[in-house]
Every structure is written in structure tokens, then in C-alpha cells.
Symmetry: C2
Subunit: 425 residues, 2 copies
């Protein structure tokens, strides 16, 4: 039976979960994988965490060198987060020829090229399934499950915090602030929720997933990003009336116009498989030229689901040793042939306040028509003081046209665009 | 760049799709996988198929030996089907040390041990992603995506023909025969639909998936199997009124009572992710001890989705050469420690014709109660001639208790059980 020694750097939620999964399943992996996986070293400055996990004193490392250079350690699991210490420690492990398994999406998104180069140079493995969508094996699927396909589109609900918040706003009619407070209390949102609610977390993941799906580096800087902090209860309700559910979608497309990547609140039709992905669940919907549409669904975060991805990577690295690089095309910059779309196509939802008088609707339709925008569906509500609310959904059109039309409408005096949201199919 | 030569045995729907995917993506695989994959040989007795695919005469083999012993062939794709010629040809390829990729669920279900032994003996690869759920990478996921988990439950809609038929019966209110006729016209059902509608196809797949999920051989003979030929429009409508959708589910569980595997029409609650898997789509819902619930969704059959799985296996075999056996635990017989459950727990749906007179309901409840069966929900409808229809859903209970209770009820004279269907949670 092969022995695999593991060092875990950082015993927060994910690192602690990894420790628990490994120690509780030791006999199971011996039996099912013919591997004896043991935790040989941990690095953690908070003694409370070590105590709570019941970790024996003798495997607590005094510093990173002691952990990663331990001759009994084959695999180093990085669960520190951030891009400072984590980057330094991962590089140290790779330089020592150790296989690295990381859950750190920001690190991998920003430094994959440097890490990959170090891995290749030192003949070390590098695995990162846990960086995206928790326990859902989306990276394994992209690399080793649907790699026969040219992927044209990837749409994902890949941030649990925002999906929890939007689900609560939708199902219970509460406002953003109240839903965020609840998410904090339940541990779904951090004290500073910026990374989640402003879409950074989803954008890091989208950068990684798109790079793999489209076989070219898709830098974080190319991701169009809009968070959910301005989402109003009114829009959710009006969208609902039009048959939509609001989700923070990460969308990656590879079309003739180029690669486009964007994270923004998006209405999806209620009968779309993504519409029923609720609460802290995540899902990724992919379209390949042979496989057609497929979707993977599961918990995108949390102690044990993320640990499942980390430990599955540890096992994969031990059982498939020959192929050690997961992102052979994940260079620092995009391939020279890669074109990024400067505009994109989407359908739109608009909510306007308009003068409540005859002929206004025709005038609005005329402005939109001038920009090539046609209306699919429309709801009008009377407001007080001579104003009405108009909610409309458009056919697919260019983002730029919509932005120009909005500017034009806002300048007319008879209409003001209160909100604009994109609609996916 | 590494060269991979492929032989395709059988150019029916799946073999033809594989030929098309490989030839159309040659440059794509060169660019993205650093592999030059070419079809070096095909074996097919129907000249029309060869002509339609535009296959050059010189790669058409005269016999199986010419195809599999061709020195330019590294990978043999078996798309013949059945267990006679296919078994012989696959063994010939493995004996020659060639990697075999197969879509043949019946062959793999019945002969995996023999094939695996031949593969090991001759240092040949053996891959079978395409045998289950078309292009959905469920086998890769079980082996290399969630292998850190002890899987307790697997529930799948893994036969497209029956899901198409049940979806049409549900959505359009048509009968089984009409839906089957349509499925035939659309190419979703074969002239002899037995393998699909009687659940054999799903049972082969469930045997394979359960063996992998539970790390012990789960023989086909252990699969409890009931098809959809007796499903009535009345049950679908009554189930709908209770909030259920009817699906042919393949269920595998590994509990303290042992392993249980069964394929039967099953009601699922409308809010379960499996309920909205419609038409020819398939999905597998898994529960692991760390990852929790995950679901994979996509097209379970068809030319290109199945070819996607085959070609992804070809690429995997070329890029992960060291680990050549996918089913190291898939022995001929179950592990000696494996226990199979003799009974199982389920909730139930019962439709009864009863005497339409006071006190009958109490008497029925009393009979059920005697067998430990409690009722969750009940609908009563009046029928003519002094009879009423009673539709009821039960709490979870033992299959054996339900069967005994039904026998008892049928013997009372005041009630006749018209249909019994299981309900999953």
C-alpha cells in the first residue's frame, strides 16, 4: 500500500475540514484506493483551532519550512487564502517538488502561470479543484470529462453567499440589507462581504473556469463585473411577473466575436435548470459542441464539500501521477490568437418611470427601435403624481445599444431608466 | 506531439458519431491536448454506413484482427453492442495490449471482471464512461471527482427513452402506447423497446454505477427491476395532484441494512432537482458524506453526446497513461463483506377501488396500521356503482409490509388495490 503524507497549511474552515475528512477516512482510503493517507504536518498560528481538532502536538510545524520540507510529506494543502503568504508557501512547496493542492481561487486566478512554471520546473503536481464551486467536480469535468468538446458557453451560479441572499429576497420578499444580515448570522457571508457581493469571488472563479473551458488564459482584468448591492426588491418582483428569477450569474462565452466573460445579476427564465438552484447551492451549466448542454449542481462552499474536492485531488494526484499539470494551456497571457469581445449580446430587463400620458409608450418604443432594440414583453403600472412605471423585457441585443438607448431615454425628460438588468437564455 | 491511432468497431449511431467527432476535431485536439488522434481502422459490414460517413476505403478492415492488430492502432473503440461479438473483439484488443474504450453497458455490466483481468494481464487500458448516461461524466466523477466520499445514495434518471415517454404522458396526458409510438418515430425508442421500457438498460447502468459508488461488485442479478409498461395515465394524474412527478428511477443505496439496488417507476416530489429532468435528458443525484448532494445533468444518449464520452476517454487514456484501470474493485463477485438488503424502505403511493360507504376508510387505515404503515395524504373520488377511488401516499415504510398489507386489503372484499408505486424523497 502506498503511503501519502499530507501537510495542511491553515486550519480555518477548509483546512480544518480537510483534516477531519482525512483522519476519519483513513481506513476507507486504504480499502478503496490502496492508499494510506496521513496528515504529517500542520501549520497554524491559532492554538484554539489545533486544540479543537484534537491535533497531536508533534505534527504542528513551527514554520512553513518545517511543514513543507518534512520528508514524510508528499502533498501540501494550502488553505491560508489571500495572495501573500499563500503564494510564498505554495512556491516553497513546489520548489521542494511537493504536490500542491489548493482551494485558493484568488491565488490561482492571479498567479497560475508562476505556480505552474514552478511545478513544471520542479516536477511537482498542482491541483486546484477546490478553488471553484466547492465539492462539485467542475474542474475535473472540464479537464477530463468533456475535454473532447469545444465549449461555447459556460453559465454558473458560483457564489453561495449571493445566491443565498437573492434566494431569500425572492422567496420571502425581504430587502438586500436584511438578507445580507441573515447570511452573516448563518456564516454564509463574511464580516466584510465585499468579495462575495461585489462579484470578485465569482470573477476569480470565472477566470479560472473560462481559461480551462476555452483553452486560453482569461485574465481577471477581462471579467466584466457587477455585484448585487443595488438589486432592489421591486426588480425581483417585477422580474418574477415576467417569468424570471434573479441570479448572480458568471457567464463565459467563446463566439466568433471573441471570448466574453462577465459576472452580473441576471434574470433567467423560471424553466431554465439554473433557475431552481436555490440557497447556498451552486451549479455550472455548460454547452459543448458534442455533449450539448450539461449541468453540475451541488454545494459550492462549506467545510466538508470543499474538503471533498481537496481530498479528491490528493487521491487523484496519487493515483494518476504521470500527468501532473492541470492547466498546460494556462499561460500568463492569453494565446496570441485569442480575441476578447468588446461588446456582447444579451436580452435586457428595463424598469422606467415615465410620464403617465398618452403617446409616451410609442415614444419609448421609437427610441429603443432606433437602437435596434425590440420589446418582448411589457408591464405598465400606475404611480402617483402623473408618473407610471414601465417594466419591459427585450429581445437579444447589443449591450452598447442598450446603454446608448438608456442615455437617450434619460435625456428625453418623459422617461427615466430606474434599473437595467441582463436576461440570459 | 503524440500520435494516437484509433480503430472503431461498429459504425452505428455511436460509432459513426465517434468517427465524426474525431475527424472534425483533429486540429482542436492537436492544439488543446497536444495529441494527434487519427482513425486508422474501422470495422463495419454495412457499406452504406461507410459511404455515408465518407470513410476512405483503405482504412476499412476486412476482419477484427486486421483492425485491432494494426500497429498504428493504440485505442480500440467498441460500438457493436451485445455481448457476443463485442466481448470477443474487446478481449482480442486487450490481449493485443490495446486500450479499449467501450459504450457497451450490457457487456461491461456482465463481463467487467473478465475484461479487467485481460486488461491487467496485458497492460492494456479499459475505459467505459460512454456506457452510462451518455456525455455526462458520471463515471469520471465517481472515480476521480468525489472519490474522497463514502457514497450513501445514488438516484438517477438514466434511461432517455422511458423519461421521454413519461414526460409526454405527464405533460400532454397521452397514454403509454401513444407516447411509445412517438418515441419510436423520433428515434428515441427501438423497434423492440423491451430493453428500455422494462428497465434492463437502466439496470445494467445501475449495476455499473453502484459497483463504482459502493466499491464492491453489484451484480445485475441483484437489481430489483420493474418497467413502465403498466404505468397508467390515471396514476400520473393522481400523483400530480399529490405533488409528484413520475420517473423511472435507478436507486442505489448503501445503508446499515446493506446495499440495495432497484429500478422502478418512482414518484418524486416536484421540488426535487430530479423532478424537472424532462424529455430525453438524464441526471444522476448522489449523496456523499463530505460533498453532500450533487447532481449531474445532461443528455444520456444520442450520437454526439455518447461520442463526447468516448473521445474524452480516448484523450484521458492518452494523457493519464499510468493509471490504466478504472475499476480496480470491480471484481466478479461482491466483496465478502458486502451485504445486500433483503427488504427496503420507501414511501408509497396506492390507488384503491373501495366500497363507497361509511366506515371503509377507517377499516383500510386499520389494515395499513396493522402493518405499521401510516398515511401522509389522501384523496377520495366518487366512482359509479357504489365504488369510490382512494389515492393515498404513505410515510416511509418497509416494502414487505406494503406488499403484505396489499394482499390483506385485496382479500377483504371491500377494497382492491389498483396500483402501487414507490415514492422517493
Amino acid at each position: 500500500m502506498r503511503k501519502i503524507g499530507v501537510a495542511i497549511l491553515g486550519l480555518g474552515v477548509v483546512g480544518g475540514g480537510t483534516y477531519r475528512v482525512l483522519t476519519q477516512h483513513r481506513a476507507f482510503y486504504q480499502r478503496t484506493q490502496n492508499l494510506d493517507i496521513t496528515v504529517e504536518s500542520v501549520l497554524e498560528t491559532n492554538p484554539e483551532r489545533i486544540r479543537k481538532l484534537g491535533i497531536p502536538e508533534e505534527i504542528v510545524a513551527a514554520n512553513v519550512a518545517e511543514a513543507v520540507l518534512n520528508p514524510d510529506v508528499n502533498v501540501v494543502v494550502e488553505c491560508i487564502g489571500g495572495t501573500e503568504a499563500a503564494r510564498e508557501f505554495v512556491l516553497a512547496a513546489l520548489h521542494a517538488g511537493k504536490t500542491v493542492v489548493t482551494s485558493n481561487k484568488e491565488l490561482f486566478c492571479k498567479h497560475s502561470h508562476e505556480l505552474e512554471l514552478a511545478a513544471k520546473t520542479h516536477n511537482a503536481g498542482l491541483y486546484f479543484e477546490a478553488s471553484c464551486v466547492g465539492g462539485v467536480p467542475i474542474i475535473r469535468t472540464l479537464l477530463d470529462g468533456v475535454q473532447a468538446n469545444e465549449i461555447s458557453c459556460l453559465m454558473g451560479i458560483i457564489n453561495g453567499t449571493t445566491n443565498y441572499i437573492l434566494t431569500q429576497m425572492t422567496e420571502r420578499g425581504i430587502g438586500y440589507e436584511e438578507a445580507l444580515r441573515e447570511a452573516r448570522e448563518l456564516g454564509y457571508a463574511e464580516a466584510d462581504p465585499t468579495a462575495d457581493v461585489e462579484g470578485f469571488d465569482a470573477a476569480y472563479k470565472l477566470s479560472i473556469l473560462s481559461s480551462l473551458a476555452f483553452h486560453t488564459k482569461v485574465p481577471f482584468s477581462k471579467v466584466f463585473r457587477e455585484g448585487i448591492t443595488n438589486v432592489s426588491q421591486e426588480d425581483i418582483a417585477d422580474g418574477n411577473a415576467l417569468g424570471y428569477r434573479l441570479k448572480l450569474l458568471a457567464i463565459g462565452k467563446n463566439t466568433d466575436a471573441g471570448v466574453e466573460v462577465r459576472v452580473h445579476p441576471t434574470f433567467v427564465r423560471k424553466d431554465h435548470p439554473l433557475a431552481s438552484v436555490e440557497g447556498s447551492f451552486n451549479a455550472v451549466f455548460l454547452t459543448g459542441d458534442s455533449v450539448g448542454d450539461i449541468m453540475l449542481y451541488g454545494r459550492g462552499a462549506g467545510e466538508l464539500p470543499t474538503a471533498s474536492a481537496i481530498v479528491s485531488d490528493i487521491i487523484f494526484s496519487a493515483t494518476h501521477g504521470e500527468h501532473r499539470y492541470s492547466t498546460f494551456k494556462n499561460t500568463k497571457t492569453p494565446d496570441k490568437d485569442t480575441k476578447f469581445a468588446e461588446d456582447f449580446l444579451s436580452a435586457y430587463y428595463l424598469r422606467l418611470t415615465v410620464d403617465d400620458e398618452p403617446g409616451v409608450l410609442a415614444k419609448i418604443a421609437a427610441v429603443l427601435g432606433k437602437y435596434g432594440i425590440s420589446i418582448v414583453e411589457l408591464i405598465q403600472r400606475s404611480k402617483c403624481e402623473g408618473k407610471a412605471t414601465l417594466v419591459l423585457a427585450t429581445h437579444e441585443t447589443h449591450e452598447r445599444s442598450v446603454m446608448s438607448a438608456i442615455q437617450k431615454l434619460d435625456g428625453t425628460g418623459f422617461a427615466r431608466v430606474e434599473s437595467v438588468l441582463r436576461v440570459a437564455f
